[in-house]
């Protein structure tokens, strides 16, 4: 069986700006794939190319093995849930949902039956005669979903459908969306900039950065084994440390950070000893101990900041070479250091991963920064 959606080296330019470069990926039938990335990364552009609302400058698009690159949007068997919902303001909930079916010239009986089924599916039987402006944000969202699903498209495209909802409603809708997808078996391509949402919902995630797909894989894998510094920092919080490769044995490597040796995983091929590398370590994977003379051979640093976050304390440690890293530790009396205290820093070999540095270093420096920018960028419609 051919993939439900397949893109081959898609390129899209807007003037001199390259919105999408060489994007290739596949989505299996029934899969829930998320396109994740900050605003401006090209994820909405990619979605619009699949929907047929924009034409690619190069590359091909196949739906269930069929090349649809040259087909207009209204011939493609995919429907979209728009970020702003784009409900027709002059039609009530019922007629909005019936729109696609009417376009397909289905019989009135079929239309009625389908729309009723959709209203039941999203729990809006009581609101069928209401107009969009009379519905709450969550209800509008459901109408948009029902409208896109009414024609039973094999592929549903969702462009940040939950971005406009408040956090609690968003979590509920995430659960509903997931169970709906499971129930219908429809292929979902879901666009979001929210990594938590992506991790919660997806079978697979494709991370986009600067118009390129940088890594594709199941959520756990992306979290545990990011391949680039960007992925590491964008998915969850991550320390990125500069160092130098010392030696390598199959996937295990020894690196030098601030003049001391530390272990790390090295999955990628082609790299050699002696070259500078970036090591990604999750705060949860970092261990701290009071430093004493006998273990001074390991990596050490001084506490510069202490932050209580619920059950954990987040310690910021400055290494001798000036780099800082964060460690998240459970509260324990033995771990109550003062600011300025000397601590020993270590991690399990599997907790650290050597990643490819990104061209744009600034963006990868802080995942929190990226997230903040994202929130600011939410209002922007186009990527």
């Amino acid at each position: 069986m051919p993939p439900a959606v397949e893109t081959l080296a898609l390129v899209k330019r807007f003037g001199s700006h390259i919105a999408l470069a060489d994007a290739s990926f596949q989505v299996e039938a029934g899969e829930f794939l998320t396109l994740l990335g900050p605003s401006g990364c090209g994820k909405t552009t990619l979605l619009r190319l699949i929907a047929g609302l924009d034409r690619p400058d190069a590359g091909r698009i196949r739906l269930a093995g069929q090349d649809v690159t040259d087909q207009p949007a209204y011939r493609r068997p995919v429907h979209t849930v728009f970020q702003s919902y784009a409900l027709f303001p002059h039609l009530n909930a019922y007629d909005n949902i019936a729109f696609g079916l009417t376009r397909q010239r289905r019989s009135p009986a079929v239309i009625r039956q389908r729309v009723e089924a959709m209203l039941a599916l999203v729990g809006l039987e009581g609101e069928r005669w209401r107009y969009p402006h009379e519905l709450s944000g969550g209800q509008q969202q459901r109408v948009a979903l029902a409208r896109a699903l009414a024609c039973e498209p094999p592929v549903l495209l969702l462009d940040e459908p939950l971005a406009a909802l408040d956090p609690r409603l968003r979590q509920r809708m995430q659960r509903e969306l997931k169970s709906l997808q499971h129930q219908l078996g429809t292929t979902f391509i879901f666009v979001t900039h929210d990594q938590t949402e992506a991790l919660t919902l997806s079978d697979r995630i494709a991370v986009l950065h600067n118009g390129r797909i940088v890594q594709t894989g199941p959520p756990q894998k992306l979290h545990a084994e990011p391949e680039t510094a960007f992925v590491a920092s964008f998915i969850g919080n991550c320390n990125l440390l500069k160092g130098e490769a010392r030696s390598r044995q199959s996937e295990m490597a020894t690196v030098v950070i601030a003049g001391r040796l530390a272990p790390a995983l090295w999955r990628q091929d082609g790299a050699a000893a002696g070259q500078p590398v970036v090591i990604a370590v999750r705060p949860e994977g970092v261990q701290l101990e009071s430093a004493s003379g006998d273990n001074a051979s390991g990596l050490t640093g001084r506490i510069v900041e202490r932050l209580y976050v619920g059950a954990d304390t987040r310690w910021t440690v400055r290494l001798p070479d000036g780099q800082t890293l964060v460690a998240a530790l459970r509260h324990e009396p033995s771990r109550a250091w003062e600011i300025g205290a000397l601590v020993q820093v270590s991690w399990q070999p599997a907790a650290a991963v050597i990643v490819t540095p990104d061209e744009v270093g600034d963006e990868t420096e802080s995942a929190a920064d990226a997230e903040r920018e994202e929130l600011l960028g939410q209002g922007r419609q186009l990527e």
């Binding site: 209204y74 784009a86 027709f88």
Partner: protein, 618 residues
């Protein structure tokens, strides 16, 4: 304390709200008071003299049996309807094109689109006639339609464009995404979004077209008289309460249109058959509007361009039957309009009714066609006193039609003593009860005559003295009004009116307390003529019409319709005694001899103008 703090703003808001409501109410009253007055006036019972019983709605019955009025309303409605549909289509297409594409110089191009809105109507009207003349298009229904569409389309573009700016392009994409072709997406999504703007601009177009006078007066022709043109042309013979009725009806129509727009806006939520039937109905109405009304095919047509109420429906029908032809009447409101129309050369009329001073101008400009007197078999019916007038010394061009005397109308029951001199107009006892004609030469005429000077004085001192007198008189004058003086006399608002004998004679038939007098110092006298324009298409038929009017019975009928005297001596015998013996309509020879015609005063005219401006603006 907290409750006090909470209440304080509420009270303020309440008071502010009350003031706002009062102001809003006052504005509404200000806006609607004139319309309400008009409507109430239209319901006023007709005077018993005209009808067997004065009853509410009598004027409606009268108005609805006035063919000229009904035709004018029908014409207006046809033009407005067709204009609306065409302007709406063109304007919307333009708005969509301007909204869809971005190009260099777009701002300029859009500015050009809206220019017709701010250009003075007279300029547009004149330019339209010039263009039509260049293109060789005849004036008539189509020229009116073209001109109306031109200025209405600008408004449509303006309104639709504004609405389009707020359109979320995503809605269109959502429709495409759900399987609608671009065409279907336009009809199902874009158009419903535009509906309020479309309905709004349609109503505006209809109203603009219905109301337009200036442009229409330039481009109309061939019997196309719209309601406003008809209304203005009534100024010659006075405004009758029928106009209250007509305007009230239009008011009701407008209100109905507004209600209809509300309904139509809801129609978009109806199933498809609902929309379909509305579309079909609209198309049907449009076709009905622009399809020519049924008319006798192959019969020659006489185009008569004349003051309104200056001819008789009955005579026209009789003439049509007798000579197997059609008479198309178009009306104007001033000699200047007539002159402008003829000077364009586009207008083609077979018969016109210029006043004496205009005859001289038209003849000099070669715009009149010499008469073939051999065809005017009833010529000998004319009173020799009216032959060979100064404006046409050899009777080459014109046939006298009616004659008008300016004098004083007054209320016998209100005036302290019988009025016999222009002096009465300067009598302080009548302060605020005097109406003067809104006419420079008539006003100066009264003042000059009062001092024993000539009506056509060229003496600077005399003119200055007259101007001073008129300035002194001004505090006594209630209004300068050429159109309603007999109405003001009838309802008692004024007791003394400088006015034309015809209207006052008709008013006197309604109220015997109204009298007309030619002041002992003498009044003014004017004659209106029938003439044939040089470019007439049916000169022979026009002469036949002239000859028909010269028949005594026909002339007698004209007298009874217009209230003006006839130069047809033989007609007197065919008038009922109360008309034939009416000294207002036919002032005795002794009085007539005291009257003079207004003549061109030549180079001194700017003096008159100068003083007149001062008098009117003080």
């Amino acid at each position: 304390m907290s409750s006090g703090a909470g209440r304080a703003p509420l009270t303020t808001r309440g008071r502010a709200g009350w003031v706002l409501a009062a102001v809003t109410g006052a504005v509404y009253i200000y806006l609607y008071a004139p319309l309400l007055t008009l409507f109430l006036a239209s319901l006023t019972p007709a005077p018993a003299a005209d009808f067997e019983a004065g009853y509410v709605g009598a004027w409606y019955v009268k108005a609805l049996s006035n063919t000229a009025l009904l035709t004018a309303i029908q014409t207006s409605a046809r033009v407005a309807l067709a204009t609306t549909v065409i302007a709406l289509t063109l304007g919307t297409l333009a708005a969509l094109a301007l909204g869809k594409h971005r190009f260099r110089g777009q701002t300029w191009l859009e500015g050009l689109f809206y220019l017709p809105i701010v250009v003075p109507e007279a300029v547009v009207g004149f330019a339209s006639v010039a263009l039509l003349a260049q293109a060789g298009l005849p004036l008539g229904f189509w020229s009116t339609l073209l001109a109306h569409v031109a200025f209405c389309a600008s408004y449509v573009t303006f309104i639709v464009r504004a609405r389009l700016v707020g359109f979320d392009e995503r809605l269109f994409e959502a429709a495409l995404d759900l399987g609608a072709t671009p065409t279907a997406a336009f009809w199902r999504v874009t158009l419903p979004w535009l509906t309020p703007a479309l309905v709004g601009s349609a109503l505006l177009c209809f109203a603009l077209s219905l109301d337009d006078y200036v442009i229409t007066s330039f481009v109309a022709g061939d019997g196309v008289t719209t309601f406003p043109v008809w209304l203005y042309s009534k100024m010659k013979t006075g405004v009758s309460p029928e106009i209250n009725v007509a305007t009230s009806l239009l008011l009701i129509l407008s209100a109905a249109l507004a209600a209809l727009s509300q309904i139509v806006q809801r129609l978009q939520r109806l199933p498809r058959w609902g929309r379909l039937s509305v579309s079909v109905a609209c198309m049907g109405l449009t076709i009905a509007a622009i399809s020519p009304s049924p008319q006798g095919a192959g019969e020659p047509t006489l185009h008569l361009y004349i003051w309104s109420n200056y001819t008789s429906e009955k005579l026209l029908r009789d003439f049509e039957t007798r000579y197997r032809c059609r008479v198309v009447v178009e009306t104007y409101d001033s000699n200047e309009t007539l002159l402008a129309k003829l000077q364009t050369g586009v207008a083609r009329y077979d018969l016109i009714a210029p006043s004496d001073y205009l005859v001289g101008i038209l003849a000099r400009e070669g715009l009149l066609r010499p008469l073939d007197r051999s065809r005017l078999t009833n010529w000998q019916n004319l009173d020799p006193a009216f032959l060979n007038p100064p404006c046409d010394p050899e009777n080459r061009y014109v046939v006298p039609y009616t004659f008008v005397v300016t004098g004083l109308g007054y209320r016998r029951d209100k005036a302290s003593e019988p009025v016999e001199s222009w002096d009465a107009l300067w009598d302080a006892r009548y302060r605020g009860r005097i109406v003067m004609l809104d006419d420079i030469r008539e006003c100066f005429g009264a003042a000059l005559r009062r001092r024993g000077a000539s009506l056509n004085s060229r003496d600077e001192r005399e003119i200055a003295q007259a101007a001073e007198d008129l300035l002194l008189q001004k505090p006594l004058v209630k209004a300068y009004d050429s159109a309603r003086f007999e109405q003001l006399l009838l309802n008692g608002e004024v007791w003394l009116a400088q006015g034309f004998n015809g209207q006052i004679a008709k008013a006197a038939r309604q109220n015997p307390n109204i009298a007309f007098v030619v002041p002992k110092e003498g009044g003014t006298r004017a004659v209106d003529y029938l003439a044939i324009p040089a470019n007439a298409a049916q000169p022979a038929l026009a002469e036949r019409f002239m000859d028909y009017i010269l028949e005594p019975q026909a002339s007698a009928e004209i007298v009874q319709v217009t209230g003006y005297g006839t130069p047809n001596r033989a007609a007197r015998a065919f008038l009922p005694p109360d008309w034939a013996g009416n000294e207002y309509v036919f002032p005795p020879e002794s009085l007539l001899r005291r009257c003079a015609a207004i003549e061109d005063v030549g180079a001194i005219l700017p003096r008159y103008d100068y003083y007149w401006t001062i008098i009117k603006s003080k």
